[in-house]
Amino acid sequence: MTEETFKSNRGVFDAVVFANKQIRQRFYRLGLEFSGDGAAAFAQTRPGQFAEIDLSDVKLPPKEEIAEDLQDSAERKVLLRRPFSFCDVISQRGKTRVEILYCALGPATLRMTTLSAGNSVSVIGPLGNGFQMPADKKTALLVSGGMGAGPLIHLAKAITTEYPQVEVTAFAGAKTKTELPFEKPLDEISRQLGFALHEFAMYAVESQLATDDGSIGYKGFVTDCFSQWLGQQRSLSANDTIIYSCGPEAMLARIAKIAEDKKIDCQVSMERMMACGIGVCQSCAIKCRVEGSDEMVYKLCCKDGPVFDSREVVF
């Protein structure tokens, strides 16, 4: 059901780091540039697609810079590639630049933080299927939890560029203020105007924030914030609306429920531990309903997803 992507273009490419910026305590934004075939392949990247990056030979940060709770797991050498989706993709003059919002939480992502401009990494992609674009919709609602914001920022850009008639609103949640993966300081005025996040405001997309502890924005789960907001939208037609969501599975399940109750189309971007990312290992199974039957099948997050119709997924 998700958009058909240009699979024949995918491959293993080297990318050159052009930026790697710490934006919050554990959050970073990595920029990779592709040339040649890689540039052509990644120029086609749709929001929600991902890439598998080899970080095995990237060095660790010095021990004293590694958070105490990550010191032990940092000792593990990295063997497998790691999947990351994009928060931005720009193609110009034969080069394609992609940006990844990431969180340092284990051996591979800790290594990622030491990449610096000019370093080269091996990337497989673009992989999987992205979000289906809201061609026949009037409203797109983007709900993210934690790192899930990345692909939704990319999506916000794509929708506002390609479907300017669609009204987009974004919701972003996290446990607490410091775990929001956004770069720009949030100024009070913009927030009152409904533009809490610079990353979305760039595309003239209104956004709201929620933190479990209320350290900023709505106090509570982003799903509650979203649900409350939804309840207030008298003029919203379920048929003309679509929800896009990315974040922890418990949150996606909640969003799926809200969408089902309101009969709104909903796409969720799922995560699984992945060994290959290309559909050969079967490690990334997602239990799905077979339409019109009680049967269940496993689909592959890397190949059939990572974006699924929320009705399909058995949470």
Partner: protein, 310 residues
């Protein structure tokens, strides 16, 4: 380098262009790899395990990374024999590389059913019996750990397999792998492949639960390579050398040097598993590297290398 160097091998009744396979479960049914490598460049191809009935496989997480390795507990997820024939075989029959179907099951009858049904399929060169599966009929202990069961299952499948080549894939989780290897060979195995994965566990110390939904999984990857090399050498010396039975060696191979190590230890051919996930084109690079090694060492025929450990 001598670009035309011949590294073809005799592999039971087959002649293979080179000694490099991709390992079962790490290369799908070939089509998935098409964007990344030309499967026809391989010496041989082995499918994901096929069982009589479709299997959904285990809950997730099904994999977890470990030091220089990974655990998997896919649970033999596959579409089942009939769907395999309908959906996968047509594409497979277009390949020029010899294809082996990896067969799994819970009873001997399961294995026999798959082999029998596929024995007449032109598209298939042979079978690889995955005997690391639990024998549900006999209390769930793996077929592959009991020589009597290995004899039984191998002879039964041998009969069913017609003129297809029968490869038996050994589990390393045994006290003496030569005993199992001998049982397989004496019951009619044309080729032995070793090793399958090691049963292992990773615990999440936050939740105090196993990381894998299946609790345990099979350890593969570079971590196990030195054990696999030892086992290949042991089986070669104690079982296959005198009988002229080829070994397909695998376990942690990632470079041409690794592959050459297995060949020197006694493997006629090698298979690449976990490394495919990191470098989908890895097998082709390894084929090139083996050629270079032979060239550099002035080895005219790769047969000189097989089991050449001093």
């Amino acid at each position: 380098m001598n670009e035309t160097m011949d590294i073809s091998i005799d592999f039971s009744r087959l002649k293979l262009a080179n000694p490099v396979f991709t390992a079962s479960g790490t290369c799908g049914y070939a089509e998935e790899l098409a964007d990344f490598m030309d499967v026809n460049q391989l010496g041989g191809f082995i499918t994901k395990s096929v069982t009589v009935k479709p299997r959904m496989g285990n809950d997730t997480p099904r994999v977890v990374e470990t030091d220089s390795g990974m655990l998997n507990a896919i649970g033999l997820a596959n579409l089942g024999l009939e769907a395999f024939i309908q959906e996968k075989l047509p594409a497979i029959s277009k390949l020029t590389v010899p294809v082996f179907v990896n067969v799994a099951g819970e009873t001997i009858e399961d294995y026999v059913a798959v082999a029998q049904r596929l024995a007449t399929e032109q598209a298939i060169a042979g079978f690889e019996l995955n005997i690391s599966c639990p024998n549900v009929a006999k209390g769930g202990l793996s077929f592959g750990t009991d020589p009597a069961q290995v004899t039984e299952i191998t002879s039964a499948v041998k009969q069913a397999a017609g003129d297809k080549i029968l490869m038996v894939k050994l589990s390393p989780c045994v006290t003496d792998i030569s005993v199992i290897a001998r049982a397989a060979v004496e019951a009619g195995a044309d080729v032995l492949s070793l090793v399958n994965t090691f049963t292992a566990m990773v615990i999440d110390i936050e939740s105090r639960k196993p990381v894998l939904a299946n609790r345990t999984g099979g350890l593969s990857g570079p971590a196990i390579k030195p054990i696999a090399v030892y086992m290949v050498n042991k089986v070669f010396n104690e079982v296959t050398k005198e009988r002229g039975i080829p070994i397909l060696g695998l376990g942690g191979i990632r470079t041409a040097s690794d592959a050459v190590e297995f060949i020197i230890a006694g493997a006629t051919a090698v298979a690449i598993g976990t490394a495919n996930f990191v470098e989908p084109n890895c097998a082709v690079k390894i084929i090139e590297g083996i050629k270079k090694y032979c060239d550099g060492k002035e080895i005219k025929n790769i047969r000189e290398l097989i089991g050449s450990l001093e």
